[in-house]
Amino acid sequence: MDNPVLRKELMRYRLKVAKPVKLATVLVVILIFLLLYIEIGLSLHNSSNQGSDASDLCNLLLWLQFLGVLIFAPGIMCSSIAQEREQQTLDMLLYSPLKTEEIVFGKITARIIAVSFLLLLIAPLILICALIAMNRGSLHLFNVMNAYLTTFITVFFALAISLFYSWRLKRTLYALIATYSTVIGLLIIADSMVSVALSIIAGSGNGSSPLLWINPVMLFNQALSPDLAHPQSAIFQLLGLAFYLVCSFILIWTVIRGLKRNRTNTA
């Protein structure tokens, strides 16, 4: 796929330093991860309860990975269109024969590649822990797969929200604030509070309002540690993920449509 926007966006991630510095940076990163891998490997090897420890570590890493990319991804997506506007390149981009779909997909794909790169760094570690834990029967493959699926869909949703704000708002900073307010403030904190309040009003008292299932933390928790006492939780989780996907495509479609309008009205 020869998408010029994708190529340009990826170029912008590279280190603008001399080759020896680049090489040194890469070597340092590899070394840090190597030491981390060795340390964890040795700890697990010496552990008296390998299965449980590996499972705990795997869960911890999956959580860290989930929260890390959930915070990182919107941060890099916010600049996608707002920065073009700030540096006065948006008009020229829209003036070119590039389709708005090409522009938007190029920008999203570049960010997904950046996020995937981050995931790839930690993936072998998770894989080692998961294999040990699964071998000892303390972790199910399905849960790990479900956690990854939930991470991807949630991050995709966060990227779509961020893209939308990046198009709608004038500055990258505004888009960043709006995105984090939506993801952390609205979807996580406000949603939890409203759900608990609704449950209390309804008299159930256990905070299991359906509204809770648009909370990414709740969805991920369900993916990693399924609530076996309430089998309907799995359905709610699926509905939550479906909701994220539908919202993501609506937001992306809105941005594409909006940019199409901008193409002939950039004054």
Partner: protein
């Protein structure tokens, strides 16, 4: 006053840019604002059109409508026979547009920047390197090919933007204030580049406030004020019509008084004889001197292309004529005469 070409009545295919009764209206807080009011214009292939007007006159709005970036409220614009409203993509493929305020991607290299736009214009991968080399050479940026864009000076970035505008070899170029904010050297470089484009046969519409520079390479101008085209057409014709007659300047080596009286006697051809207060030697000396001659100016009111009659009479009378020519149109003078300082 309106001096218009008859372009609007010609076949679309004749003119490179053809604008008929073009208007653009904005509504801001319940009020109507007529940014462009009933403009008509025609430019042929190879024309360099200087679009002049004060800030807020409607130049950028007009250029954006030609560039397909704004939809006209009424009227039509054709570029090489293509309707800008109905076929914007085809128009964009033959247009090079450089906005008045533009940015560049600072964090990529010069060649990558051009390669990106070449790819955006669907130029095949194997042709791009040669095209990039060509436009870099044309804009005198070859030595900066591998430099990061952020390391370029403002003038270089301006030329890079022009290079980007040229990657798809457009027939028509719309340059909105290309030399604004540049230092004298960078302005001269841009001017030289525009001359080169002129030689390449591009049709160029350029808006600028720097009128003396426009005089040098524009063969046509349009003066716009408060959304209305006050005058448009050939620079000399406009200059003549605004001033009322054609001005001719002569330099005599001696006998200034006799030259004046001779000219004044030719009232069929000459009026308004003025002794110039400065000589036009190369040193711009403000004093007359017999070595450089005396300059005087008169209005020619005879038949067009019969100015030689005056020259012959002067020569026959034994006057030593050193120069006999129409001075360059003074756009600043024309601009000040036709505009009233109104803005939208």
């Amino acid at each position: 006053m309106s001096i218009r070409q008859n372009g609007t009545e010609r076949n679309h295919s004749m003119a490179m840019i053809e604008i008929s009764n073009l208007s653009k209206e904005y509504r801001t807080s319940g009020q109507k604002l007529l940014a462009v009011n009933n403009i008509s214009l025609a430019l042929d292939k190879g024309d360099i059109f200087g679009f002049i007007g004060p800030n807020g006159a409607g130049k950028t709005t007009t250029i954006k409508m030609i560039a397909t970036l704004l939809v006209p409220s009424s009227g039509s614009v054709f570029v090489d026979g293509l309707d800008v409203v109905k076929e914007p993509d085809k128009v964009r493929s033959i247009l090079g547009y450089m906005p008045d305020s533009f940015g560049v991607y600072d964090d990529i290299k010069v060649w990558e920047y051009l390669d990106f736009f070449a790819a955006a214009y669907k130029i095949s991968k194997d042709k791009r390197p040669a095209i990039i080399d060509d436009v870099l050479s044309l804009t005198d940026l070859s030595v900066k090919k591998n430099a990061y864009v952020e390391s370029l000076s403002r003038g270089m970035k301006q030329r890079l933007c022009l290079a980007k505008t040229l990657v798809h070899d457009p027939k028509v170029m719309l340059l909105d204030e290309p030399a604004s904010g540049l230092d004298p050297r960078a302005r001269i470089e841009i001017r030289e580049l525009l001359r080169e484009l002129q030689r390449m046969g591009k049709t160029i519409m350029i808006s600028s406030h720097i009128l003396p520079e426009m005089e040098e390479f524009c063969n046509k101008i349009g003066i716009i004020e408060k959304g209305e085209m006050i005058v448009s057409g050939d620079v000399r014709t406009i200059s003549r019509q605004v001033r009322g007659n054609q001005v001719i300047e002569i330099t005599v080596l001696e006998e200034l008084e006799r030259a004046v009286s001779l000219l004044e006697s030719m009232n069929e051809y000459v009026n308004d004889v003025k002794i110039m207060s400065r000589s036009h030697n190369e040193n711009q000396n403000t004093h007359f001197s017999s070595s450089t001659g005396h300059s005087l100016q008169f209005g020619y009111i005879g038949e067009p292309n019969h100015e030689y009659v005056v020259l012959n009479s002067l020569v026959d009378s034994g006057l030593k004529i050193r120069a006999f020519h129409s001075p360059k149109a003074d756009l600043e003078d024309v601009f000040m005469r036709v505009t009233k300082g109104l803005v939208n």
